[in-house]
Structure formats: C-alpha cells, structure tokens
C-alpha cells in the first residue's frame, strides 16, 4: 500500500459527505442526490463518480472487483483495481462470487449477485429526462411531481419509427414505482437484473456530481406499453469460447475477411464456464 494518501485516497470528511448522500439516496430509491464531487486522478468519463462512491464505502476487509464492459482485463478496470490496491491495500479479485464490492462500467455480471454485495455503477448522464427536457429545473420538477408522460412519448416515437423500442442500452426504468431512473449505459439485456436484486446498487456520476441508489429487494421496472412489453434482446448466437446461450455477447471481428466471433462480454463468467468444461 502506497503511503502518503489517506485510506482509499479520499479524506475522511469527503467520504462522510458521500456516505451521507448515499444514505439519502438509499432512502429514496432512484432519486438523484447531489454531492460535492472531488477532482480525482483520472479524467471525467473514466469513472470518477463510481470511484468516489467505491472509495466512500470501501473497508479494509472488502474484496474489490472492477469490470469495464464486463471485462476484468481492460485498461480502465485494471487501473481502478490497482488504484484501490495501492491507496487502500484491499484485496482484489476477478471472480464475481468472491467480491464484496464490484465497480462496473456498462454491465452487470452474469452471475447473480447475492445479499451483502455492493455494486457501484459508473454513470455518465444521470438524468433520464435530459434528452427530452433541456431545462434541468423543469426535469427536477417532473421528478418531484412524478410527471413522466414525456418518457413514454420517447418510447412511442421509437415504436412509431422502428416498430419497437430502439433503446438498446441505458433503457429507462421506474424504481419502486416512483422515480424514473437511468440504469447507466448497461445493455437493456441487463435491466431485469436490477429488479429485486439482493445486492445494494449504487450509482455515481462524477461530472454531474450526482449519485443515486437501489436498495436490495427493490422493484425496478423497464418502461413499456401494455401492447409493446419490454423484451430482452440478445445476439442470436452462442459464445464462441464457452458455448453459453444465456449471456450477453460481444462481437469480435477476427480478420479482414469479415469473420466474426461472438464471445461473452463477462470475462469471469466465460472463464468459469470453460474451467467447468464448457466449450464453444
């Protein structure tokens, strides 16, 4: 552990401030709580919100897993994992079941989370209404009064233009029947995993200095119409490495002839399956 920094980089007052905001966020599921975001040693868009939330909830005995698009071995995931290994000295892992805290960008692990785990999402745009309502004050009023008809207008427009809701990631959800929430840019495929999860789910947006939460066992519904219900979309393939037919797949171009390989985006899930003898 590198000396010269406070435990987990942030000073204790800042962590307390973030924890207070998190308590409020947990108390009002899906509601965006402003917090005093700090400058972090990485640029906005690289997970500054998630990293501050992780720093605020991290304890000495936690085991940290960091994924980026489902992968443990991408630059961003590796950097953040190493950052906390250095500044907090905590144990790290790539195995979902072993982790007590998972910081993620754009995915939820395939392996179901369990009670006691915390998942921290990196959020670029916390306001689900931002593309529809340019005024932030008006958007706040709409949240306050639960006026979410406009969001359905967006879905209506999608169905009208494309025959189905074309939102494939960051698909808006209604949390606890009250607050409209952006689930961060996870694929819509992951949306059902938000619902009634035994784990605590925390969301941090560094640039926008907002955080929000879904407490364990909270109802999370993807918006839809009665006659156009929310449907999972998944590439119609099996994983080329482990043969999984239930996981979210990345498409990898393998040569300049247009050959493609579909592989699990969750590298831990894929590796675990292969160790168990599955193959593509």
């Amino acid at each position: 552990m590198t000396t010269g920094y406070n435990f987990a980089y942030l000073d204790e007052q800042t962590k307390r401030m973030i924890r207070r905001a998190l308590l409020k966020a947990v108390a009002i599921p899906g509601h965006q709580v402003p917090f005093g975001g700090r400058e972090m040693p990485l640029p906005y868009g690289w997970g500054t919100g998630g990293i501050q939330v992780t720093a605020a909830v991290l304890g000495q005995h936690d085991v940290l897993k960091v994924i980026d698009q489902g992968a443990d071995d991408t630059t961003n995931a590796v950097s953040i994992r190493r950052f906390f290994a250095r500044t907090a000295g905590v144990a790290t892992t790539t195995v979902t079941t072993e982790a007590s805290i998972i910081q993620t960008r754009h995915r939820i692990p395939e392996t179901p989370l369990r009670a006691g785990q915390i998942i921290v999402y990196q959020v670029p745009l916390p306001e689900p209404l931002s593309k529809l309502e340019p005024s932030r004050a008006e958007a706040a009023r709409m949240h306050a009064l639960a006026e979410y008809g406009l969001m359905h207008v967006k879905l209506y427009e999608d169905i009208t233009r494309f025959g189905h809701v074309s939102i494939s990631y960051d698909y808006p959800v209604m949390v606890n029947g009250r607050h409209l929430m952006s689930p961060s840019p996870i694929p819509a495929f992951d949306n059902p995993k938000l619902h009634m999860s035994p784990a605590l789910q925390l969301f941090g947006a560094g640039r926008e200095k907002r955080l929000y939460a879904i407490p364990p066992w909270t109802e999370v519904r993807s918006l839809d119409f009665d006659d156009h219900p929310f449907r999972l979309t998944r590439a119609p393939h099996e994983c080329g490495l482990c043969g999984a037919d239930d996981s979210y797949l990345d498409e990898v171009v393998t040569d300049d002839q247009g050959s493609r390989l579909y592989v699990c985006s969750d590298t831990d899930y894929c590796a675990t399956r292969r160790e168990a003898g599955h193959g593509g």
Partner: protein, 258 residues
C-alpha cells in the same frame, strides 16, 4: 359564485412595478361558454388569462374553479401538482405560436398522444387510434401522423396544437390569440374549426384576442379591457354593435371594413 359557474374571479389585481396590469377585474364563465377578452396591447388581457389559468399569482382577488365533481378550488391556493395535473386534463391552453406548445422533434401523433400518456395511458395502439381520430377532426391528413411537425405549415401547426390540447376533452380552454400569427388565407378555416369543435364538445373558452371579428365569430360574451380594467362587458354583438364606453367606441370604429 353561482352554483353552475365553471370559473369565477373577483377583484383580481396585479401590478408589475408601477404598471397596474390588472385592477379589480371580475369575471364569470359558465360551462360551454366562450368569453372573449379584447383590448389593445398592454390592456392587461393576456395578464388576465395568465392569472385566471394560475400561471400568474394576483396581488389581490381570487379565482375559483369548479371541478367535474362540483368541488370548488381557489386556483392560486391549489398545490402545484394539482394545478399542473389540471392543466394536463380538465384544462387546456392554446398559445398564439404553436411552436411554443408543440414538441417539434416529436411526430404529430406523439404530440397528440402526449397528454394521454401523461394521464397514464399505456396502450400504444389505443393512443394511436385516438391520435388518428383527432388529426382527422382537425383536418390534418392522417397520412402525416408519423411526420415531424417541423414539416407542417403554420395553419397545420395550429390545428395540431388544438388537437393536442383537446385530446383529453378539457372542459375549459384558455386561448391566447389562437389565429393571430397565421396568414389571413388560413384564418377563416381555423376559426370555423375552433367554432365547430367548441360547440360540439361544449368546451368553455377564455379567448384573448385583439381581433374584434374573431371575438364576434367565436364568443358569446365579451369583456373590453383598458389599462387593466374591464371598461365594458356583455353580449358580444351588443357590445360591438352598440358600444357605450368611449374606449369601446374607439376600438370598434378603428376596425377596417372588409
């Protein structure tokens, strides 16, 4: 206020700095009635519309509204969520410039359907059926239902705004110069459309206009405003054909004969 009044205002006053925009205005509106508020720019007619609809709060006076269940509400004492819900359901507001009211990046059908979705309608097919019916009623080719309004003419935009407003069958609609920004060639068509829909649906309308011919064609009663006061009011044709107040006589005599 009488038992069957839809909207009643007493002693509404509002000053902007030293300008007295409204001075002791009384008004009554019955279900299905069209009330025109006329006067020149700065007479306070738009301010009155904003105060009656709860968009502005008066310095003094009160405005009562009777909901469909017969209960009375002080418009300016209503909680914000309730007033906003009212504006999405039992009330409507038609602005002079439809671009201020419509969502130009949303299809015509989506614009009409928004109030339905805001009320919790979650059936896509049902919303489309209602929207299609309303586009037909305001004489917009239903083949344009999935087009963006920015490709529409001014008259079509205004008709779309009317469809978007009336889709929830409001009982009270506030209109601010609804044909003011349009070419003369399309004004007559829109006037006739408004007149027909208002009569068919039995909608009460508070209509602000500076155009006396619009007031004559649409309104049962008229209120003439000058410097924040109502100087004359009564039956529309009576006030316009036999004006008593000097200001009304001036207004009436200033109109060019077509």
């Amino acid at each position: 206020m009488a038992d069957d009044t839809l909207l009643a205002a007493r002693g509404l006053s509002l000053a902007f700095g030293r300008v007295q925009a409204l001075a002791g205005v009384d008004a009554d509106l019955w279900p299905g009635e069209v009330l025109a508020i006329v006067g020149e720019s700065g007479s306070g007619k738009t301010t009155l519309l904003d105060v009656l609809s709860g968009r502005l709060r008066p310095d003094a006076g009160v405005a009562w509204y009777r909901d469909p269940d017969g209960a009375l509400h002080d418009v300016h004492a209503m909680p914000q969520p309730k007033l906003r819900a009212l504006h999405r359901s039992d009330w409507g507001f038609v602005r002079q410039n439809p671009r201020d009211a419509l969502r130009l990046g949303v299809t015509a059908g989506g614009n009409v359907g928004e109030r339905l979705m805001a009320q919790g309608n979650r059936h896509y097919g049902g919303i489309r059926d209602v929207a299609e019916n309303w586009l037909h009623r305001v004489e917009i080719d239903t083949a344009r239902m999935d087009d963006l309004p920015r490709t529409f003419s001014g008259g079509m935009l205004q008709r779309l705004q009317i469809a978007r407003t009336l889709v929830t069958h409001p009982r009270l609609v506030f209109m601010d110069e609804p044909i003011g920004g349009l070419d003369v060639s399309v004004q007559a068509r829109l006037l006739d459309l408004i007149r027909t829909l208002v009569a068919q649906l039995g909608i009460a309308v508070v209509l602000v206009t500076h155009d006396l011919s619009v007031a004559r064609l649409l309104a049962h009663r008229i209120m003439v405003m000058q410097r924040g006061r109502v100087v004359e009011s009564g039956l529309t044709d009576q006030v316009l054909d036999d004006p008593h107040h000097p200001y009304t006589q001036l207004l009436v005599s200033s109109v060019l004969q077509a």
